[in-house]
């Protein structure tokens, strides 16, 4: 412990956290699923055994077989391939929407905490206003006006999640700002940008990242919901939601499509939640030691 050098501590910490994460079965499970989610999201197009949008009417609505592991849908497309490729939409959305939202949220939260009372107050009012729109209804309204597309979904997710991040960051920054170590920095004449970047940001980012990782299921759920309603990703592009919708029409005769399209949704959402909870247990300073 004593002989570490500064440069290694960051890496060692990350490695320690990952080791702790993998030390429980649930933690290991979540790490594996989350990794698989992103790997399949990137490589889905190449590893899929069939062309996910190629029609083959003769092979429609087949049950699971060695040729089609999860069967085929109403126009004979391989469900397993469609699910693999559908991961792309989910992971792309999860990454882009959450990171854009995080960036905006952190930026605005810091501004709110470090400017005048009036600006802070007005920003809070705006955050609360945006938060009071019901996500899916707001989404439907936006889609009604601007038409469905993946960018619309990103926009909707960003708008409906950034206020929570901004609020969280603001509260964290405010409580940090009155901490003695920040006051000590001010006493020695540290400029505001340095205080923000060196002393506040590193202490804020942890809790926010944990909340963000637990929001990824929400993003995936919104996409699945909208695509299910036919207002998200346009067919024939496969996404978990559109596959669910395909299966829903034949739920009484060929339930395996719905069952198999639901599984990746359940797995990833559970994995992200577990990961977030484990991370919080490991990183929460109150539980450390």
């Amino acid at each position: 412990m004593a002989q570490r050098t500064n440069k290694h501590t960051g890496l060692t910490r990350v490695r320690n956290v990952i080791r702790k994460l993998c030390s429980t079965p649930l933690g290991l499970f979540s790490v594996i699923i989350v990794t698989a989610f992103f790997v399949v999201g990137i490589t889905g197009d190449w590893i899929a055994p069939y062309d996910p949008i190629k029609l083959d009417i003769r092979a429609k609505l087949q049950g699971p077989s060695s040729a089609h592991w999860l069967g085929t849908d109403q126009v004979g497309r391989d469900v397993f391939s469609r699910l693999l490729v559908g991961t792309k939409v989910a992971s792309y959305l999860a990454v882009t929407a959450v990171s854009i939202s995080l960036a905006i949220g952190i930026f605005l939260g810091m501004i709110a905490a470090f400017t005048s009372r009036w600006i802070d107050w007005s920003m809070l009012l705006i955050f609360d206003t945006v938060r009071s729109f019901p996500t899916l209804m707001f989404a439907l309204a936006v889609i009604a006006l601007f038409g469905p597309s993946i960018n619309t979904i990103i926009g909707i997710v960003v708008i409906s999640t950034f206020p929570s991040y901004a609020r969280l960051v603001r509260t964290q920054v405010l409580s940090l700002r009155s901490m003695e170590y920040i006051e000590a920095q001010r006493a020695m004449g540290t400029r505001l940008p340095r205080i923000l970047m060196r002393h506040i940001f590193p202490n804020v980012i942890g809790p926010v990242m944990i909340v963000a990782s637990m929001d990824i299921p929400l993003v995936i759920g919104v996409e699945a919901g909208l695509s299910f309603l036919g207002l998200g990703v346009r067919p024939p592009t496969p996404s978990w939601g559109t596959i669910l919708n395909d299966g829903f029409s034949f739920i009484r005769n060929t339930p395996w499509i719905v069952i198999s399209a639901g599984l990746p949704l359940i797995l990833t959402t559970v994995a992200f939640t577990t990961l977030g909870e484990r991370l919080r247990d490991i990183l929460d300073p109150k539980l450390r030691r």
């Binding site: 705006i126 206003t129 019901p134 009604a144 299921p217 309603l229 829903f248 559970v270």
Partner: protein, 311 residues
């Protein structure tokens, strides 16, 4: 207390005004001619002109603002483009279906409180661990997946519960509520039970609970007045926020279960570009949500006299 309540209500009104303004501005940003958007590209010029006239689209911006807000003041949310009926009337007609769904979901969500309490009191016991695993698995699963799986299991395989419509007559209505309620509520039971457990464990370790124990106050009384009472405000806040999410999920669930209601109304309106109805619905639900969070905030203050405006 009273001062806080008044202040909180003023803020809520401000939020509603801001939200309405935001929606109005959003409409202004629609690319192209709103009449085109609403009626589709194949509408005749006469039809479009008539619509423009009716929606005051030909007037100056400021006049539109005036019509919009003065209409709102009188409860005028506009007119349904297909049936020509006032949107408010349609909303009132559909609201009970959604309201009953939201109410029953909230009721089911309350189950999380005893579950979380029991888990916290018997910490690390079997029930705690089991409910923990189940809750975490349920927390994030989208209601659409739960809904579809419930239909598969209870309606398609077991044929126990109805999966379509809202039913008529008390028992039928109740039966038809079961699956949609569970589709939304299961995740919330999990969430609330985890939250109650966490805050209970925190409060159980607090000094004042130790003091109460040291005075031999009976366990039941300690749990109710010294632990739950202190732990509950966090839960109430979450319940207040949950109403928004439940309402949001109702859109999906109403469509999956072919239930009438606000969500279904809105979906149909979106598909048919009936946008006074779309806007009216968003507006009404926003007002509903703001009211719900305000009430939960006020409840919080009543339970915990320390709570003041933290902003």
């Amino acid at each position: 207390m009273l001062a806080y309540a008044i202040q909180r209500i003023i803020v809520s009104i401000l939020i509603i005004i801001l939200a309405v303004t935001a929606l109005f501005v959003m409409i202004q940003f629609v690319p192209g001619d709103p009449a085109n958007v609403m009626l589709g590209p194949r509408a005749t010029p006469e039809l479009k002109e008539a619509l423009r006239e009716r929606l005051h689209l030909n007037d100056a911006f400021i006049v539109q603002v005036y019509y919009f807000f003065s209409g709102l003041m009188q409860g005028d949310l506009g007119v349904d483009l297909t049936s020509n009926r006032p949107v408010l009337g349609i909303l009132i007609e559909q609201a009970p279906f959604t309201a009953s769904l939201v109410a029953s979901t909230l009721l089911v969500t309350l189950l999380g409180i005893p579950i979380g309490t029991y888990a916290a009191v018997h910490r690390d016991g079997f029930f705690d661990k089991a409910s923990g695993v189940v809750s975490v698995s349920l927390i994030a699963v989208p209601p659409i997946v739960i809904g579809l799986y419930l239909i598969l299991f209870f309606s398609v395989s077991l044929q126990l519960l109805p999966a379509i419509g809202a039913g008529e007559g008390f028992w039928e209505i109740l039966l038809h509520l079961v699956l949609p309620t569970l589709a939304i509520g299961l995740t919330w039971i999990g969430y609330v039970s985890r939250l109650v457990r966490a805050s209970m464990i925190e409060v159980l370790g607090q000094n004042h609970v130790k003091t109460a124990r040291a005075f031999g106050i009976p366990n039941q009384r300690i749990l109710r007045a010294y632990v739950l009472r202190v732990a509950l405000p966090a839960t109430i806040t979450v319940l207040g926020v949950s109403i928004g999410f439940i309402l949001s999920s109702a859109v999906i669930v109403e469509i999956v279960f072919s239930r009438p209601g606000i969500g279904k109304l809105m979906y149909d309106a979106v598909i048919s570009r009936n946008y006074p109805v779309v806007m009216g619905t968003v507006l009404a639900s926003t007002v509903f949500i703001v009211t719900a969070t305000t009430i939960s905030d006020l409840l919080n203050v009543m339970l915990d006299p320390r709570t003041k405006d933290e902003n």
